[in-house]
Point group: C3
Chain length 142, copies 3
Amino acid sequence: MSWEQVNIKFEGLPRGFNLITDTILDKIPQIKSFRIGLLNIFLKHTSASLSINENACSDVRQDLESYFNKFVPENEPYYRHTLEGSDDMPAHIKSSILGSSLSVPISSGRLNLGTWQGIFLCEHRSLPHTRTLTATINGEKY
Amino acid sequence: MSWEQVNIKFEGLPRGFNLITDTILDKIPQIKSFRIGLLNIFLKHTSASLSINENACSDVRQDLESYFNKFVPENEPYYRHTLEGSDDMPAHIKSSILGSSLSVPISSGRLNLGTWQGIFLCEHRSLPHTRTLTATINGEKY
Amino acid sequence: MSWEQVNIKFEGLPRGFNLITDTILDKIPQIKSFRIGLLNIFLKHTSASLSINENACSDVRQDLESYFNKFVPENEPYYRHTLEGSDDMPAHIKSSILGSSLSVPISSGRLNLGTWQGIFLCEHRSLPHTRTLTATINGEKY
């Protein structure tokens, strides 16, 4: 039974739904040594989020961004938390809706995602930010 | 300390919020052998999702379906990902909002759900699909 | 490799987004004895939820409550589950959107939240309720 924990930093990803599966696999080569287990990735921020969705067609990522911009609007008259810019409070709301952590099974040394599943870091602020996630693996090594 | 991993296949569940608690318990009898632990269930698709909600009154499941159909509408003018049908992009959005995995505690050989909690497989496409989930248990056996 | 499981009861929290990080840390002192691990907290209810968001400015908590009241409205004409009051079905929907469990990494005896992250118990019913969560820790002790 083994534990591994790794921090991964992302610098200045653009606003929107960014596919980060390859970065995750690249920065956590330890996944390959686990026969069975779980990977938890936890984003340490409140105006960005993590999600899993379609990895092939970039239109899906664009449409997700458009949908969330429409249904979590800026400048709602009841917002009080407005000092950090009109994109800030919507960013907090999107973060609670989408969530800041994911747990993905590991099977035979591979992240057991479905064929069309990719991991997204969803950046909800307009200006570039540095984002850190903590990846924790627990499982049985070979 | 033990790990178990099981794949469960669902064939052609109807669109909507389907209660699958009994199937989960039936297909993962290993739960009974764990004194303490966690069950992770991970759905390997991007147009369906997993959620926990009220297990008794089927009206709740119907109202959830109605709500999400209204607030994640088809045919939004800004959707670009439209080739696979008007229910496809809304299905991806619902999947990100509801999420594709759940972690539930195991206590004394039982899934430690609240009295009114059931596990739902939320099918967001109109035509029947085959859906696979990977269940991973980690814990201390008796 | 060790497991700990603790139930925490909350009595009559007001409707809205309640910061409970300090209660969690207070009721689960075992966190300090883990070098590395994960804390899962699981809320055993279907009309309340758990979320992580900004811990400093209470305006964010108020704006989250306002947003969800507007975008998950009461008295939608298609709601069938109305017997338990007009706040009941919206509470179920909010619970599925926000989710009923969280997994947070433990690093060097501390809950590894970001600087601005706090844990919220989101009470979606208007009348006071008793809410129970099951906290499960798994990890390597010192």
